[in-house]
């Protein structure tokens, strides 16, 4: 594909806050900033991985893209059309293009519906013009695509293992022939061997149906395995966005660098050789984030300027993004040479 990539989605200045109880009876509600200054694009046909620790805002971002949560400000442009401004009825029609797969496969399936009913459900609301026969035909076709046998159509979710249940969840997302699927930790609850089967299935489906995927996970190895580009979030902000190779071979942000050295690698000799960039402490509270660069409290390269100034999200060569005031100095001082 030598054409200029088509931007399927453009996320502009998205911000999302939640109001939470201050704790006490008379305390004022507190504002938790889950996402701020989110700007990036998703290209048609790519898999964009979103990584970050708990509380980084990765699931909130996925939900804001799908309009399952409404951003406080900013735009979510789907082929140029702002989804945040779309009337409910229009948005409902769009939903057949935008689907989601959840982490806990069994919890996300209605236990009182059969597999056939679960998979057909989105068609009832999103494709009301289809009759019962046409729906059944589509359901069977989709079941075959995800590796479910036709005779399973009348069974109930509890009769399935986690891996099979996740296939049902994938079929439900796939049945409306979407263009984009947000996969929110789709393999985190599965056994290792099943996890690999589902990852392969997603890759096959992506090729077969020309899907664009947003793959949210805390597991950097999984994300690296499936993604073309990777977005790294920290405390609700983008710290880096680059291709999988760039992130892995030439990470620019100190957080990405530290994150990479912390990823467990299934290779004992390599594991013994490498030194973990000891990130101190844990992700701070998003209710009261640090001033300036939000990562500075854990960053071993932080200086006075990092507390005063919020690093802008810089666009570098090849379109990669990074938000760090000091990345050039850091790279000069400590070049990456097989850190992982």
């Amino acid at each position: 594909m030598n054409q200029t990539p088509v931007n399927l989605l453009e996320i502009r200045n998205v911000k999302k806050t939640f109001s939470i109880s201050g704790g006490g009876f008379l305390s004022r509600p507190l504002t938790l900033t889950a996402l701020e200054d989110i700007n990036f694009t998703i290209r048609k046909g790519e898999t964009l991985g979103i990584v970050g620790e708990s509380g980084s805002g990765k699931s909130t971002l996925g939900r804001c893209i799908l309009q399952l949560l409404t951003p406080d400000q900013g735009q979510v442009l789907w082929l140029g059309q702002d989804l945040t401004k779309l009337p409910a009825e229009e948005m409902r029609k769009r939903r057949q293009d935008l689907q989601i797969i959840f982490q806990d496969p069994l919890a996300s399936l209605n236990p009182r519906m059969t597999v056939g009913e679960i998979i057909a459900d989105p068609l009832r609301t999103l494709r009301p013009e289809l009759n019962k026969e046409q729906r059944r035909e589509r359901v069977l076709k989709t079941m075959a695509a995800v590796g479910l046998l036709p005779e399973m159509i009348n069974r109930y979710p509890h009769e399935f293992s986690g891996g099979q249940a996740q296939r049902i969840g994938i079929a439900r997302a796939l049945v409306t022939e979407p263009k984009l699927i947000v996969c929110d930790e789709p393999v985190s609850a599965l056994d290792v061997s099943i996890q690999a089967q589902i990852l392969n299935l997603l890759a096959e489906l992506k090729d077969a149906f020309g899907l664009t995927l947003i793959f949210i996970s805390h597991n950097l190895s999984v994300v690296r395995h499936v993604s073309d580009r990777i977005l790294v979030l920290y405390l609700g902000r983008i710290v880096e966005l680059a291709t999988g190779d760039e992130i892995y071979l030439d990470p620019r942000h100190p957080y990405t660098r530290a994150l990479l050295t912390a990823v467990p690698i299934p290779d004992p000799r390599l594991a013994r050789l490498r030194t973990i960039d000891g990130l101190k402490g844990e992700i701070p509270s998003p209710i009261n984030p640090p001033s300036g660069c939000t990562f500075r409290t854990r960053c071993r390269f932080a200086e006075a300027q990092c507390a005063e100034q919020r690093p802008p999200l810089e666009t570098l060569e090849s379109g990669r993004l990074v938000a760090c005031l000091r990345w050039r100095e850091i790279e000069a001082a400590e070049p990456i040479a097989g850190t992982v």
């Binding site: 620790e53 708990s54 293992s161 891996g163 099979q164 056994d191 290792v192 061997s193 099943i194 996890q195 690999a196 089967q197 990852l199 392969n200 890759a203 805390h218 597991n219 950097l220 190895s221 999984v222 690296r224 395995h225 499936v226 993604s227 073309d228 999988g244 190779d245 892995y248 530290a258 994150l259 990479l260 050295t261 912390a262 990823v263 467990p264 690698i265 299934p266 290779d267 004992p268 000799r269 390599l270 594991a271 013994r272 973990i276 000891g278 990130l279 402490g281 844990e282 992700i283 992982v340």
Partner: protein, 327 residues
């Protein structure tokens, strides 16, 4: 040197309403002083139940047979009261979810001190001082202040550190950690694994690390035992099993694990899913998922046999294994 723990013919059974399932079947292994043994397997492999049985923590419908020799004491032959003298003092266990293991109504120093008062006969004051010292040892900032906190006031990583501190208070010979980092973020996981390494080095504690994550195993373990359907299928040093696996299941697990250093390509997963314990396949319980299975595997169960370098495997297949696209 004699092993710290010798487990012989350990079996764990659960009575269901109309049948009995065997979760662990004739498990034999030893744990050496100061070593880290990883116990690896998927859901239903019996990896957790085997160690819950050692600690006398099986569910009510569970029963255990066999021997677990801690020195010359058989842990499995002790009464609950007798076992209490050893639990926490000689053998400690920590779990995946620290919140469910800590008492939400007690301040940290109260629950930590209790262990020392009970096992070491220290007075409250003395015990609290030791508790605070241990909190500092496991990397809790401002330990004296944090000791007054309740569990809900701490983050997940901090709670797991408190669990480790509590487990190590009596400097046990053995620490059993069941998926201790599974619920944690990767940066916090790295800190915990690092802490395990330092602590086993400093205290000479033997660590049993129960996990499904081969990445975690590679970083900290000396030896590993792979379990499938309630039985060990391969045992050996971490290097032997990672670089030269002899059991098809071990090989399959390795090929199923994504590696950060490798470009996006298809994984070669094991086909099918882990078996139900109620309905284990005849012969080798792995044979329906095994690419190398032949007639004998369907009829007969392979026994765990010794190979070179102290390793063992339970598999009839001989010779090299060509797996999927990777030779």
């Amino acid at each position: 040197m004699a092993p710290v723990l010798t487990v012989k013919d350990l079996s764990v059974r659960f009575a269901l309403h109309d049948s009995v399932v065997t979760a662990v079947n004739n498990l034999n292994f030893t744990l050496e002083a100061g070593e880290t043994l990883a116990v690896v397997g998927e859901s239903g492999s019996g990896k957790s139940q085997a160690f819950l049985a050692l600690m006398g923590l099986l569910a009510k419908n569970g029963s255990v047979s066999g021997q677990a020799l801690l020195g010359d004491v058989d842990l499995l032959a002790l009464s609950k009261t007798e076992l209490n003298q050893y639990r926490g003092r000689d053998v400690a266990m920590i779990f995946q979810d620290p919140m469910t293991s800590l008492n939400p109504a007690l301040r940290l120093k109260q629950q930590l001190a209790e262990v020392l008062v009970l096992h070491k006969g220290q007075d409250q004051k003395q015990a609290e001082t030791s508790a605070i010292a241990m909190l500092e040892r496991v990397g809790i900032p401002e330990p004296a202040k944090r000791a007054n906190a309740y569990p809900h006031q701490l983050s997940g990583g901090m709670r797991q550190r408190v669990m480790i501190a509590m487990a190590l208070l009596c400097q046990p010979k053995i620490l059993i950690a069941d998926e201790p980092t599974t619920a944690l973020d990767v940066t916090v996981q790295a800190q915990m694994l690092d802490l395990f390494k330092t602590l086993t080095d400093d205290f000479g504690t033997s660590l049993v690390l129960i996990t499904h994550d081969l990445g975690v195993v590679a970083g900290v373990a000396d030896r590993m035992m792979v379990m499938y359907g309630g039985r060990p299928v391969e045992k050996g040093t971490v290097d032997d099993l990672f670089y030269d696996p002899r059991h098809p299941y071990t090989l399959g697990l390795l090929h199923s694990t994504p590696h950060i250093a490798k470009r996006a390509e298809r994984l070669d997963p094991i086909q099918g899913m882990p078996p139900s314990l109620e309905n284990l396949p005849k012969g080798c319980s792995f044979h329906p998922r095994c690419a190398f299975a032949f007639d004998r595997c369907l009829a007969e169960r392979p026994a765990l046999t010794a190979l070179d370098n102290g390793r063992e495997k339970a598999c009839f297949h001989e010779g090299p294994m060509r797996y999927g696209k990777v030779a």
